[in-house]
């Protein structure tokens, strides 16, 4: 009798009940934490793998690029624009007022050497490759690049001026190994 009463008390009420509640809660919490931890390897396996991360830096010889010319090379699977800017283009990029820019940044902050503009050629809207590298392609209202996908205009410093893209074309990490060799990455 005594044990039965005790069991009933434990199942339904007061002191014993809260102990059972606690056990259920603690077990569920440990179980949920365990499941979450076990899920992490599954989720993380979908992140870039070591071989993808190891994609090496790219080196380019920039000596053949004449003033006013631009080339596109591939770095980490993405296009990188290298433009040899004219004096006039540099002046226009440097003299832009910051309050005209949706994503304000000076031209000086975006280049190592003013004549060499190096950009990741991926539109910051939804990832198309902007036009303007080849002769005859539209270069947008600010003479830089124009993204045909949804109409973003970039200026001669690769800064966004008009259209749905929120940010400037990004500048990849790069160093000049000497006067003719550029290393990206």
């Amino acid at each position: 009798m005594a044990t039965k009463a005790k069991a009933e008390k434990a199942a339904t009420g007061e002191d014993g009940g809260s102990r059972r509640d606690f056990l259920i809660l603690a077990t569920s919490a440990v179980g949920a934490t365990g499941a979450a931890l076990a899920a992490w390897p599954l989720v993380d396996s979908m992140n870039p793998s070591a071989d993808v991360l190891a994609l090496s830096a790219t080196e380019v010889d920039i000596s053949p690029i004449e003033v006013g010319q631009a080339i596109t090379i591939q770095w980490r699977g993405k296009p990188v624009f290298i433009r040899h800017r004219t004096a006039d283009e540099i002046a226009r990029a440097e003299n832009t007022k910051l309050d005209e820019l949706p994503d304000p940044q000076t031209d000086q902050d975006r280049v190592e050497k003013p004549q060499w503009l190096v950009l990741v050629g991926v539109c910051t809207h939804l990832g198309c490759i902007p036009l303007g590298q080849k002769v005859g392609e539209p270069r947008g209202d600010w003479g830089g690049w124009f993204c045909p996908c949804h109409g973003s205009h970039y200026d001669l410093s690769g800064r966004i001026r008009k259209g749905p893209a929120p940010k400037n074309l990004s500048v990849p990490p790069y160093t000049f190994l000497d006067d003719t060799m550029l290393r990206i990455g």
Binding site: V43, P48, S49, G77, P79, L126, I129, P148, H150, P164
Partner: protein, 408 residues
Amino acid sequence: MLSPEKGIGKWIEDRLPVFSIARHSLIDYPTPRNLNYWWNFGSLAGITLVIMIVTGIVLAMQYTPHVDMAFNSVERIMRDVNYGWLLRYLHMNGGTMFFIVVYIHIFRGLYYGSYKAPREILWWLGIVILLLMMATAFMGYVLPWGQMSFWGTTVITNMFSAVPLVGEDIVTWLWGGFTVGNATLNRFFSLHYLLPFVIVGVVLMHIWALHTVKSNNPLGIDMKGPQDSIPFHPYYTVKDNFGLGVFFFVYLTIVFFFPNFFGEPDNYIPANPMATPPHIVPEWYFLPFYAILRAVPDKLGGVIAMFASILILFVLPWLDRARVRSARFRPIYKQFFWLFLVDCFVLGWVGANPPEGMFVTIGQVATIYYFAHFLILLPLLGMFEKTRPLPESIAASVTSAAVTSSKG
């Protein structure tokens, strides 16, 4: 014939009641006696799903999910594999038919108020199926690895970069790299294989909910007794089969005579990560949503509007406060229904065109109207519309000459 009353049939039935379940849901299932042809599209959607799975599994035996081989493996299916061209065209255009059928099925629900109590969960499960179908079709389109495959994926996956703070990390995670690449193609193939079976699961729940609350009907009133219903078999099995014949006529006409009508020629150019095609368009069934994305001149805003345009369907049962279900008895709603349908076509047309000139304005107006339909018109109609009197019962309406004139 096996019978559940005797012999092996009874032996099975006693252990797993397959016979009674089949009889209950496919033969005796009481169905309103007044269903019209718009009620054919549910069974058509189910059959299309089966066609997609069967053709897909056979295609997967020949397809290679690798960036260097995917395009050529699809070309090999087209040229060298026995009947490969047929399998691929059935699968490709089956996707198109699937969306046509499901969109009609959804608009049927909108017209006859099938989302209203007690069918809210049935309606939700339908929207979940639509979302899963969209994900499946989107990932399937990546597999042939043509220019549109590659750039469509790039643009769509990049939408997630609009998420504040972690956006870029999410996109890298989705890609498994720094661009759409081999890792992306592989995982999309894996998921493209998986999701249709998830859809099968949700479809079963959809039918379970249907059989719990029973079918709506063109009058939008409940069945009140046996005089209002007829058994599913043979009445609707016959009607569904007739519809299936018409469906196959249309589907196979496309497959045999216009197999690339709904496709983009650019997708027969192998993917080139270094050159974006001048005009990127998604598959036709995504065009209205693509137009909504581009109507908002802000990256995050556009993505939110696009997702909201589908998610808003989840709360539709509470936005539309009218008690009367069927548009037949809602003279004003009926007009706005057609206007809404036209609006969706306008959005589709805008989505197919470059975002320039008048298309920008038209797209924005049509987007605003899309949301206004749900958020302003429907709640107001619920309050002010004067509905027409409902018939006493389904039986009374189909038998009395007086109401037969009230078509709609």
